[in-house]
Amino acid sequence: MHRNPDRPLSPHLTIWRWGPHMLVSILHRVTGAGLALVGGAALVWWLLALAGGPEAYAGFTGWATHWTGIAVAVGLTWALFQHGLSGLRHFVMDAGAGFELSTNKFWATMTILGAALLTALVWAYILFGRGA
């Protein structure tokens, strides 16, 4: 990186106080990268196992219903909801709306609460609702 050390760095990242909007911003990136790597691999694994026949599929479901598989799946579900909700928030901001400080903070907080709530609902249904 070619930077003239005589020039100041801008913006001065260290002077900002952390807020929900900053957390959501970095969570969007982290969950996006996680979904791309782990989620993409899981999707392909599921489809390949399906194409591999009943035995290969049993191997996949064995892992998917093991507690490690469930832990990864819960993580992916949360990442999907967090990334999806903050993605929807990005659409609103792309339209130029929602930049007022209080509105921005409110919806940033809502994406975090919403993602946690939706993840809990989905897994309550999967683990207890279907009797599976």
């Binding site: 990268a33 790597l37 993409g40 489809l47 390949l48 399906l50 194409a51 599929y57 999806g84 792309d94």
Partner: protein
Amino acid sequence: MTMETPLARVRGLGAAGEGAGHWWQERVTSVSTLLLLIWLGVALLRLPDLGHPTLAEWLTSPLAAVPMLLLVVSAFWHARLGLRVVVEDYVHEEGSKLFWLLLIDFAAIFGAALGLFAVLKVALAAGAA
């Protein structure tokens, strides 16, 4: 001799070297991936069970196989665009940036191709209804 100001010459040349095309594709694939994931969730909920025979039979239907193929393309394209931005933001050395961007391109295309092949294999299996 050019009449361009120095600002005009560099405008839009961030870490990626271009801007709006990538930005727009990311938005389009985010909408398509979201809609296709909602479709997948609803479709799986409507199945009586998630065992191999049920899923394999379900994927022989064009209205299941085609959205699934589109989901693979849409999700991997979106993943590729997103991971590119992360590398462009954090990897500043040109050589390693090129390496990671190539790796992302190859991995995304390989992953998508594996997914597409798997769906087609199930969908077009001999003896499938």
